[in-house]
């Protein structure tokens, strides 16, 4: 019994220790994002790898999400002759919810994992220590550029996802569901409010921070060779996804009816 309790106790203590380290890491990472010197070259390189290189995967996800959304809402809405609401449903769900969340989950898999694996390998091969001894702060050189890129590139990616997703819904509605093309587009634009897009972009920025911060944290703290790097990569993706869905609920509540 005592053994059982001490096991639970140890897990709880470990959890708090990790949470504490994470909070300290996040505080330090964010402060290094705004305090000079900032390694501009590294920041732009990360814009490229995190932003531009994620376009194909985000675009593909978006086009199918939009298309499926149109099909599925047709199944439901046609049962009570509300098929004309499909343009509204597609545009609102995409910009407010599915665009940011699905794009972020895809980016978490692509970018979060890559960051954790790269920093983790640098940690176990002493490259991070080497940076330190060369009087270069690894938080500034490695972490801050990635976090900045996540914060700034994720909203841009989601904006692209929104446009492509709406187009996907439009193509399916116009061809398979037999909607009038101009009526569909007019309905889409009438339904769209600035706040729909803005709330989605705010979500994207928060998710971008979550992905890059967790990727950096897990990579930076990884221990114990190849296996440690593997664990770090898994944790980076899993925790990023969980946190994305968790914070998504509260962000949605924040933007409710606005």
């Amino acid at each position: 019994m005592i053994d059982f309790l001490s096991k639970i106790g140890r897990r709880v203590l470990d959890l708090f220790a990790v949470a504490g380290r994470l909070i300290l890491f996040v505080g330090s990472a964010l402060s290094h994002c705004v305090r000079p010197p900032i390694y501009i070259g590294n920041v732009f390189r990360q814009f490229w790898t995190i932003g531009y290189n994620s376009l194909p995967v985000v675009g593909l996800t978006a086009v199918f999400t939009g298309a499926v959304l149109a099909l599925q809402s047709y199944t439901g809405f046609s049962r009570f002759s509300a098929a004309s609401a499909i343009p509204t449903v597609v545009v609102v769900s995409l910009t407010r919810e599915l665009g940011p969340v699905l794009a972020s989950v895809m980016v978490a898999g692509r970018v979060g994992a890559a960051i954790a694996a790269e920093l983790g390998t640098m940690r176990v091969t002493e490259q991070i220590d080497a940076l330190d001894t060369l009087a270069t702060n690894p938080m500034k050189y490695l972490v801050a550029p990635r976090v900045l890129a996540g914060l700034l590139m994720m909203p841009l990616l989601v904006l692209v996802a929104d446009i492509i997703g709406i187009m996907g819904g439009f193509v399916v509605s116009a061809t398979i569901l037999g909607f009038n093309q101009s009526a569909y587009l007019i309905n889409t634009f009438n339904a769209l409010k600035t706040m729909d897009v803005v709330s989605g972009l705010v979500k994207a920025a928060v998710f971008g921070l979550i992905i890059t911060l967790l990727g950096c944290f897990n990579g930076y703290q990884s221990r114990g060779g190849a296996q440690g790097v593997g664990t770090a990569t898994t944790s980076a993706v899993v925790y990023a996804c969980v946190l994305i869905f968790f914070s998504d609920y509260f962000l949605t509540q924040l933007f409710l009816n606005r």
Binding site: E126, D129, A130, D132, T133, L134, A135, T136
Partner: protein
């Protein structure tokens, strides 16, 4: 020797991880221009000492003072100021694999210089010059570190460590994982670099051939403290059973192999 203050003073270092005590009252003074080699078995705390010396790890108790500045309990600014005087050769080289060979060497020049920034062309020229000093040609300058053999990576890492002409050079197992000929070549390069820069050198190793070659003084670390410390020439006549066992590589003696987890 007593007239000038020592370059590095480590006093009463203690460090433990969980229940495992790694450093237990470690004292060491290193005079300016000296080349000291700390020897000891695996897990004797050599690496932890070096990490404390670099400020990568903070000892639980004790202090490290370098040129009058405390590496322990100091701000990042002070630590970085001390680190600008240091060059470190990591065991695995620790070359940045996102950069080319010359960028690796030039990294030290760009990040550590106090003067105006150098242009990319100048930096490359300087880096090639530093590569020349460790016997590497300019033809490898644009390769990535992954394309080099282990021995060549070590040389590049050495070039990076000495590039900014540091006053203190640190070597972590410089010959581990190299064939005997390459190991001897690296030892010679270390010796030459230390002499040319007039640097103070601190090495840790368990390779006695390397220790004999590069050390002017040898200290033996056992169970977290220095148990013997003297001129390199005296290690064969020390009369210390622990040192004798280590120097001659015998499995029987006062040092018992740690085969159980602590």
């Amino acid at each position: 020797m007593n007239a000038t203050p020592p370059k590095i003073v480590a006093k009463g270092l203690k460090k433990s991880f969980g229940r495992k005590i790694v450093l237990d009252g470690f004292d060491l003074e290193v005079a300016s221009g000296e080349s000291i080699v700390v020897i000891g078995g695996s897990g004797s705390g050599k690496s932890v000492f070096l990490k404390c010396l670099l400020g990568l790890m903070r000892p639980d108790v004790g202090s490290i003072v370098i040129d009058g500045d405390a590496m322990t309990a100091s701000t990042r600014t002070v630590r970085d100021r001390i680190r600008r005087k240091m060059g470190m050769l990591f065991q695995g080289g620790a070359l940045f694999d996102s950069l080319t060979v010359w960028e690796n060497v030039a990294f030290a020049l760009n990040e550590r210089r106090n003067g105006p920034p150098v242009s990319r062309r100048q930096a490359r020229e300087l880096a090639v010059e530093k590569l020349g000093a460790v016997g590497l040609g300019s033809d490898i300058a644009d390769l990535s570190p992954a394309e080099l053999s282990g021995g060549m990576q070590k040389r590049v890492a050495l070039a990076r460590a000495i590039a900014a002409e540091p006053e203190i050079l640190l070597f972590d197992e410089p010959t581990t994982g190299l064939d005997p000929i390459m190991a001897d070549a690296i030892n010679n390069l270390i010796l030459a670099s230390v002499q040319r820069l007039g640097a103070t050198a601190v090495s840790i190793t368990h390779d006695m051939a390397s220790a004999r070659k590069i050390a002017s003084r040898i200290a033996m670390l056992y169970q977290g403290r220095i148990i013997w410390d003297g001129p390199a020439a005296d290690i064969d006549s020390s009369g210390n059973p622990y040192l004798d066992q280590f120097v001659h590589g015998r499995s029987e003696g006062p040092i018992q192999l740690q085969v159980r987890a602590l």
